[in-house]
C-alpha cells in the first residue's frame, strides 16, 4: 500500500511503456497466457494451411469415426474432420472475443469518460443506463439480444459487445473521477485547453491501463459467451465451425463419440484460461496498486 505514494503518476509515456513491458514479461501468468493466445492466433490466421481437411467437407462413409491415423481427432456426426473444425473454429472464437470487446470498449470507454469528467446530469443519465444494463445478467442479456437480432456470428458479436458495454462505462468513469481532480488536469484547464483536448490528451491515457486489463478479462467472458450462443444455435451459421455449436451436436453423442465433445471443449477451456492469465498478468504489470 505504501507504494501508492511512491508511484509517479505521470511518467513520460515512452519510458513508462517500456518499463511496463519489462514488468509484463516478468509475470509468469502473462507469459503463459500470451503464449496460449499466440498459439490460437496462429491457428486462426493460418487455419487454411494448418487444417488437414476442408472443415465443412463431409465424408458419408466415415460418420462419427473414432480418432485414427487419417482423422487425428476423429470425425463428427456428418463425417467432417474434427481437427480441421477445431482449427477453423478458432477464427470464430477469437473474432468473437476481440471484435465484441472492441465494440464494447468503443462504446463504453467514451461514455465512461464523459460521465466521469462532466458529472452532474450527464453522469446520472449515463450511469443509470449502465446500471440498468448491468442489472440484466450478462449472458441473459446477450442471449436476448442475439435472439432478437437473429442467428449469425456478426449478430452474436454485436449482442456480446453491447452486453459488455456497462462494465467499461463503470471502469472508465471510476478512473476518470480519480484523474479529473489531479493537478495536471487543473493545469491543462488553466492553459485554456478545451474539454475534448483534456479528455483525449490527459484523461484517456490514464484510463487506458485499467481498460486494457478489463478488456482482456472480458475477452475470456466473450469467448465463453460466443460458445454459449453458438451452443444455443444463436451464433455461427452451419456448416461453418464454431466450438459452441460443435459441443451442442456432440452432446447427443457423448457416450458413443466423446471425441466430438472433448476437443472443442478443451479448446474453449484453453482459450479462456489464456485470456484470463494474460488479463491477470496485465493487471499486475499495469495496476499501480500492485
Amino acid at each position: 500500500m505504501s507504494t501508492i505514494e511512491a508511484e509517479p503518476v505521470a511518467l513520460p509515456a515512452r519510458r513508462r511503456s517500456r518499463s511496463e513491458l519489462r514488468r509484463l514479461l516478468h509475470e509468469p501468468s502473462a507469459v503463459i497466457g500470451g503464449a496460449i493466445i499466440l498459439f490460437f492466433a496462429v491457428l486462426a490466421v493460418f487455419a487454411s494451411w494448418l487444417a488437414p481437411y476442408d472443415p465443412n467437407a463431409p465424408d458419408w462413409m466415415a460418420i462419427r469415426a473414432a480418432p485414427n491415423a487419417i482423422h487425428w481427432f476423429g470425425t463428427d456426426d456428418l463425417g467432417r474432420d474434427v481437427l480441421s473444425r477445431v482449427v477453423f473454429g478458432t477464427q470464430a472464437s477469437l473474432a468473437a472475443g476481440m471484435i465484441s470487446v472492441t465494440v464494447a470498449v468503443l462504446i463504453g470507454l467514451p461514455l465512461g469518460l464523459i460521465a466521469g469528467y462532466f458529472g452532474g446530469i450527464v453522469d446520472m443519465v449515463i450511469s443509470r443506463l449502465a446500471d440498468a444494463l448491468l442489472a440484466c445478467p450478462f449472458l441473459v442479456l446477450a442471449i436476448a439480444l442475439a435472439a432478437f437480432l437473429g442467428p449469425s456470428l456478426e449478430n452474436a458479436m454485436i449482442a456480446i459487445g453491447i452486453s459488455a458495454v456497462p462494465v467499461f462505462v463503470r471502469v472508465a468513469r471510476a478512473e476518470t473521477l480519480v484523474v479529473r481532480t489531479e493537478d495536471y488536469i487543473a493545469a491543462a484547464r488553466s492553459q485554456g485547453l478545451g474539454h475534448f483536448a483534456i479528455l483525449a490528451g490527459q484523461v484517456l491515457p490514464n484510463v487506458l491501463a485499467p481498460t486494457i486489463v478489463q478488456a482482456t478479462l472480458t475477452m475470456a467472458i466473450a469467448v465463453l459467451a460466443e460458445a454459449s450462443l453458438a451452443f444455443l444455435g444463436l451464433g455461427q451459421l452451419p456448416p461453418l465451425p464454431s466450438w459452441g455449436a460443435m459441443l451442442d451436436v456432440a452432446r447427443q453423442f457423448l457416450s458413443e463419440a466423446p471425441w466430438m465433445a472433448f476437443w472443442p471443449g478443451l479448446a474453449i477451456i484453453a482459450l479462456v484460461i489464456g485470456f484470463n492469465l494474460i488479463g491477470d498478468g496485465l493487471n499486475s504489470a499495469l495496476n499501480p496498486r500492485h
Binding site: P58, I63, L78, G79, P151, G233, L237, P238, E256
Partner: protein, 503 residues
C-alpha cells in the same frame, strides 16, 4: 425397544405403501409442451398424445390403419354416400358423470363446426347437419360424399367432450378438459407436467392398468432417455434414431417401434410473397434438378442411422393408397447439372430455413453439401422453433424443412399441402387439375378407383414438385421393462387402455 420396533414397522408400512402408489403411476416423457387441451382448438402432436388418455373418439384406427369402433360400436353409410349413421356404445359417461349419447355427439360436432377459433372446421366441413335418431343412434348428413370422414373422426374431430362442461366453462374448457377417455384430468403445470388419474366410470375400466399418468415435458431426447434409464421416467416418446443402440443395449428397457404416417419434406415457396421470387420457386425444372442432386438414402443413413424410411411421397408406403409406381429417382448429378444449364443457369442460390433441432439441422447440412455438387448454393437459416413456425405459417421462407405428422387417410395430408386453399399450403402452390383430382378422390367410395385417383394426384404433385418429400420417420418409444401392453399405431399416439405395470 418395543416402541422403536413399532415405529419402524409403521415406517416400513408407509414406505411400502408409497412404493406401491408409485408403481401405479406411469411417468411419460414427452418432447413438446401441448397447446390448448381442447380437441376443437388443439394443433399439436403433443396435444393429441395427451388426448389419447383423456378423450375417447367415435372411432379409432388400428395398427394396420383400419377404422375400428371406440365410442361408436358400428356405422353404416347410406347408398349415395351422403349420410352415415352411428350406433353408439351404451352406458358411457363423461368424467363429470353426465352420460354420452346421440345428443352429445350432435353437440360436439356442432361445437367444432361453429366455435370461432375451432381448428376442426375443415375436417368436418362436409357435414351439413346432425340428427339424433335415438339415444344411441346418430346420423350425419353430408353435403357431398366424403370418404375420409371416418379417418377424420378417428382423430380430434371425433373426440367427444362433455356438453355440460363445455357449456358451463366455455372459454376455459381447455384448462380442465372433461371427456370420456380412460383417464381424467387432474392438473397441468405449464411447461412442466400434465397429471391425469384413472376414471373408474370408464366403459372399459377393467383394462386401465395405472391409477395415474404423469406427462412430463422433457424437450431434449437425450435427456428423456437419460431420465428413463435413471428410472425417473417409465416411458419416453420419440427417442432419437441415433440413441436406439443405447436402448437396445439396456436390459431394463424395451424399444417399441413402428411405421409412422409422418413425412419430412423440403418445401419451396412457389407463390407466397416476395420470398417466392427465387429461381427454384419459379421453376419446377430446377426443383427437379434439386431432387436429383440429393440422395435420400444418404440422408437417412447419416442423419438417422438408417432407422427412418427414405421415400419420395407425402403418403407413407404403409398406406393402401401409396403409389408404388412413382419410385424415388436415384441421385444423378450430371442430369441435375444439365437441367440447371437448360434453365440458363450455372449456380442456383436458395436459402433453406429449418427448426433448430438436431435432426433437421443434420438433414439441412447434408442437403447443402450434396446439392452444392450440382450447382445449388444453399444458405442455411436455423430458427428457434416458435419463430420458425411463425415464419412458416406466414410463408416467410424460400425453402423450409417441414415435418408433418400425417393422417390415416391420404386426403387430409394431400389436401392440406396441395389444394389451392389447403390449410398447410403456406408456400401457395396451386394447380386446379390437382384440386379436381383430390375432390374426386374424397368422394370415391370404391377403394380401387380411389387409389387410381391418388396415383394421378401423385403424378401431378411430383412433377410440379412444390415440395420434395424426403423420408418418413418411424416411431420409437422406449419404456422400462415394467411397462407392458404397449401397442404401436401408425399415428404415434400412446393408447393407454391395456397398458399396465408388470413386475
Amino acid at each position: 425397544m418395543n416402541r422403536i420396533g413399532l415405529a419402524l414397522a409403521a415406517f416400513l408400512t408407509i414406505a411400502s405403501g408409497l412404493a406401491s402408489a408409485d408403481a401405479a403411476t406411469l411417468r411419460v416423457g414427452i418432447q413438446d409442451d401441448p397447446d390448448a387441451l381442447d380437441p376443437a382448438l388443439s394443433g399439436t402432436y403433443a396435444g393429441r398424445f395427451v388426448f389419447a388418455a383423456l378423450c375417447d373418439k367415435l372411432v379409432d384406427i388400428s395398427p394396420d390403419l383400419k377404422i375400428v369402433p371406440q365410442l361408436a360400436e358400428a356405422w353404416d353409410w347410406s347408398a349415395d354416400g351422403k349420410s352415415i349413421t352411428f350406433t353408439l356404445r351404451k352406458n358411457v359417461t363423461f368424467h363429470d358423470g353426465t352420460s354420452f349419447d346421440a345428443a352429445a355427439v350432435k353437440f360436439n360436432i356442432e361445437r367444432m363446426k361453429t366455435m370461432p377459433d375451432s381448428k376442426r372446421k375443415a375436417e368436418l366441413a362436409p357435414i351439413q347437419d346432425v340428427e339424433a335418431l335415438a339415444a344411441d343412434k346418430v346420423k350425419l348428413n353430408l353435403s357431398e360424399p366424403f370418404v375420409p370422414l371416418l379417418a377424420n373422426l378417428s382423430d380430434r374431430a371425433g373426440m367427444m367432450v362433455s356438453p355440460k362442461a363445455a357449456t358451463e366453462k366455455a372459454g376455459e374448457f381447455a384448462a380442465a378438459p372433461v371427456c370420456a377417455g380412460p383417464y381424467q384430468f387432474v392438473e397441468r403445470k405449464s411447461r412442466d407436467l400434465i397429471r391425469v388419474k384413472k376414471y373408474p366410470g370408464y366403459w372399459n375400466a377393467g383394462q386401465i392398468g395405472y391409477d395415474e399418468v404423469v406427462y412430463s415435458y422433457v424437450p431434449d431426447s437425450t435427456v428423456r432417455l437419460s431420465r428413463l434409464r435413471a428410472g425417473d421416467l417409465d416411458l419416453a416418446e420419440r427417442i432419437a434414431p441415433t440413441d436406439l443402440k443405447t436402448v437396445r443395449d439396456d436390459a431394463n428397457l424395451v424399444l417399441h417401434s413402428g411405421q409412422g404416417l409422418a413425412v419430412s419434406h423440403l418445401m419451396f415457396n412457389v407463390g407466397a410473397g416476395t420470398k417466392a421470387d427465387t429461381p427454384l420457386g419459379k421453376n419446377s425444372t430446377l426443383r427437379q434438378a434439386f431432387e436429383l442432386s440429393i440422395d435420400r438414402n444418404v440422408i437417412n443413413r447419416v442423419a438417422f442411422n438408417g432407422e427412418f424410411l427414405a421415400d419420395n411421397q407425402m403418403i407413407p408406403p404403409s398406406s393402401p393408397f401409396y403409389d408404388s409406381a412413382h419410385k424415388a429417382p436415384t441421385r444423378d448429378i450430371a442430369k441435375a447439372k444439365a437441367l440447371i444449364a437448360a434453365a440458363g443457369m450455372t449456380r442456383v442460390p436458395i436459402e433453406i430455413q429449418f427448426e433448430n433441432t438436431a435432426g433437421d439441422s443434420r438433414v439441412a447440412q447434408i442437403i447443402q453439401s450434396m446439392a452444392a455438387e450440382a450447382g445449388f448454393d444453399v444458405k442455411l437459416l436455423p430458427m428457434e422453433t416458435a419463430t420458425a413456425i411463425e415464419r412458416y405459417m406466414n410463408g416467410n421462407f424460400e425453402a423450409y424443412i417441414g415435418n408433418w405428422s400425417g393422417r390415416a387417410d391420404p386426403d387430409p395430408t394431400l389436401v392440406a399441402f396441395f389444394s389451392c386453399a389447403g390449410s398447410q399450403n403456406v408456400n401457395k402452390y396451386c394447380n386446379k387439375d390437382l384440386d379436381a383430382i383430390l375432390n374426386q378422390a374424397r368422394a370415391e367410395a370404391d377403394d380401387a378407383k380411389r387409389k387410381a385417383l391418388y396415383v394421378k394426384a401423385t403424378d401431378v404433385y411430383l412433377s410440379d414438385l412444390s415440395s420434395i418429400p424426403l423420408h418418413h420417420p418411424n416411431w420409437f418409444f422406449a419404456a422400462r421393462k415394467s411397462v407392458a401392453g404397449i401397442v404401436m399405431v401408425p399415428d404415434g399416439l400412446l393408447r393407454l387402455v391395456g397398458v399396465r405395470p408388470v413386475n
